[in-house]
């Protein structure tokens, strides 16, 4: 398999790792239906 073809498989793994890192460092809030800002 050439480099650019294998890069697709590597890219999916890299995306998953980056996403996990970003979400772990994000502040996430979820409000209830009756709650006002």
């Amino acid at each position: 398999m050439d480099l650019l073809t294998s890069a697709a498989y590597i890219a999916i793994v890299v995306l998953i790792v980056v996403n996990t890192w970003v979400v772990r460092h994000m502040k996430i809030t979820v409000r209830d239906e009756d709650e006002d800002h």
């Binding site: 650019l4 697709a8 793994v13 996403n19 970003v22 996430i28 979820v30 239906e33 006002d36």
Partner: protein, 504 residues
């Protein structure tokens, strides 16, 4: 009798799976009927892990597991690049849209995507935007649903010998039954079960060519230089493992965007965010949904290329013209009843999870966003009428599946582009741009849909060199631009500041 003794594991696996789905629907029947918020969004009380699996199983369907997997037979391992775009849009959807949409819709008491447009924009065109988007859902999804039912019915026909029409009736009937019974509760919980099955099946399917060939290096050696020919009759040689030697990157980009962007625009995916129970659940789903999707795509998107290692020259010459049959061929060639039973049940799960989600969206759009806006009704009647609408629409889908129009697969792909170009700017602008207006939302929707139709039927196949440029690309850019420009030009129609303060 002989046929039954050979196929009993497949029948048993399908029967157990259907029994579980119906049991879930039965279990949630009472809770779902308590009110509109319960039936439409499961009271926003579903754990993050269930939503995560449900999002994955709703987005991926038989089209992914049979159609896209088979496509790699003609396109080679480069087809995995489509999976990169899909994983990327899954991330974008959860990072950019998930938490904000959950937050704003709870504040606005919105339970559908069309009513979000109405409540968020609060302009003279809000109701028109709501009704336009609801009608788009009704007309654009029928082909998608009929396409899925068609794929599952063909599978039943080839595996169990069930007549096509009866197979379509069974798939649509069972899915309709548990969706009507438990509303969003049963759709999400059955989706979660189906998501687990789909992940397992992806892992099993990718292992089959390697086991058949006798190992990783043996299979890779077989497919790295094949004597098979392409659809045009040219020798493949090392094309299966060489970047874009059998398909252009523009084409990969078109499919990657048009299908991947469904995750940021189609109501069946977006409405998943409404039901997440709390911040912990949201964080879990934001991390794990791209993992579930990414892992399954790693297994599935190059599968067809690997199947070349299981085929003779004659078999490859047939399959290159019928890529939808590649997965079925692989299972038949491997000839293991237990493996076939697991995979076929998983493929049904892939189809039914998407079908159920769309059925509910269609019912809520027809009753909550069209009927109830046209002639308001008491809340007690909304759920009952939504159930009736789902049954009626399922009947129409059955007819469309039994008498499919020519090019139904093309219609399915086209409807995905309509959603991305029509819905995304209004959703994204609504979530992030305080200055976005109802006029911007309404006209960007119209322009996006019109541009999709014009590019597809008037330009793409008539102008040389543009065949591989999918309608999603020009239509999406035009629609986004229209939203920004029209919102700026119609600033006087912005909702009152106190309304915006409550949302943002």
């Amino acid at each position: 009798m002989d046929a039954l003794s050979e196929r009993w594991p497949i029948l048993l696996a399908i029967a157990v799976y259907l029994a579980v789905c119906l049991a879930i629907g039965w279990y949630f029947q009472k809770r779902a009927s308590r009110g509109v918020s319960d039936y439409y969004v499961a009271k926003r009380q579903i754990p993050g892990w269930v939503i995560s699996l449900a999002f994955f199983s709703t987005f991926a369907s038989t089209n992914t597991y049979i159609g896209q997997a088979g496509q790699a037979f003609a396109a080679g391992l480069s087809w995995a690049w489509v999976g990169v775009f899909w994983t990327l849009f899954c991330m974008i959807s959860w990072l950019l849209l998930g938490p904000r949409l959950r937050d704003q819709t709870a504040g606005l008491k919105s339970v559908t995507i069309p009513d979000y447009f109405d409540f968020r924009y609060k302009s003279p065109l809000s109701k028109a935007t709501r009704i336009l988007s609801a009608f788009t859902i009704l007309f654009a999804t029928i082909w998608y649903m009929a396409g899925i039912a068609k794929g599952c019915a063909h599978l039943l026909e080839s595996v169990l010998g069930t007549p096509y029409a009866w197979g379509a009736l069974a798939i649509i009937g069972f899915t309709c039954l548990y969706t009507v019974m438990g509303g969003m509760y049963s759709v999400l919980w059955t989706d979660a079960v189906q998501g687990v099955m789909m992940l397992a099946v992806a892992l099993v399917m990718v292992a089959i060519p390697f086991m058949y060939a006798g190992g990783i290096s043996e299979l890779m050696a077989r497919i790295s230089d094949v004597s098979h020919v392409t659809a045009a009759g040219a020798p493949m040689g090392d094309g299966l493992v060489t970047f874009c030697s059998m398909v252009s990157f523009t084409y990969i980009l078109g499919i990657g965007l048009s299908v991947g962007m469904k995750q940021i625009s189609e109501p069946r995916c977006l409405v998943r965010f409404y039901s997440v129970d709390n911040a912990k659940g949201m964080r879990f789903a934001m991390i794990w949904t791209p993992i579930f999707l990414g892992v399954s795509l790693l297994c599935v998107m190059g599968l067809g290329a690997l199947v070349h290692g299981m085929t003779s020259e004659q078999e490859a010459a047939y399959l290159i013209q019928h890529t939808d049959e590649v997965v079925g061929f692989m299972l038949a060639k491997f000839d293991n009843t237990a493996v076939s039973a697991i995979c076929i049940t998983g493929l049904f799960a892939a189809g039914m999870s998407s079908l159920a989600s769309v059925m509910l969206i269609v019912g809520t759009a027809a009753v909550g966003d069209i009927w109830n806006v046209w002639k308001p009704m008491p809340a007690s009647k909304i759920v009952v009428r939504t159930k009736a609408a789902i049954v009626v629409y399922s009947g129409i889908v059955f007819l469309a599946a039994v008498f499919p129009p020519a090019g139904i697969v093309e219609l399915t792909s086209f409807s995905g582009a309509v959603f991305a170009a029509g819905f995304f700017p209004a959703v994204f602008g609504g979530l992030y741009l305080r200055w976005g207006t109802g006029h911007g939302a309404f006209y960007s929707m119209l322009i996006g849909m019109a541009a999709t139709i014009v590019w597809r039927f008037g330009i793409r196949f008539r102008v040389p060199g543009l065949r591989d440029v999918h309608e999603i690309i020009p239509a999406f850019c035009l629609s986004l631009l229209a939203y920004l420009v029209i919102s700026k030009l119609t600033a006087r129609h912005r909702p009152p500041e106190e309304h915006l303060d409550r949302i943002f």
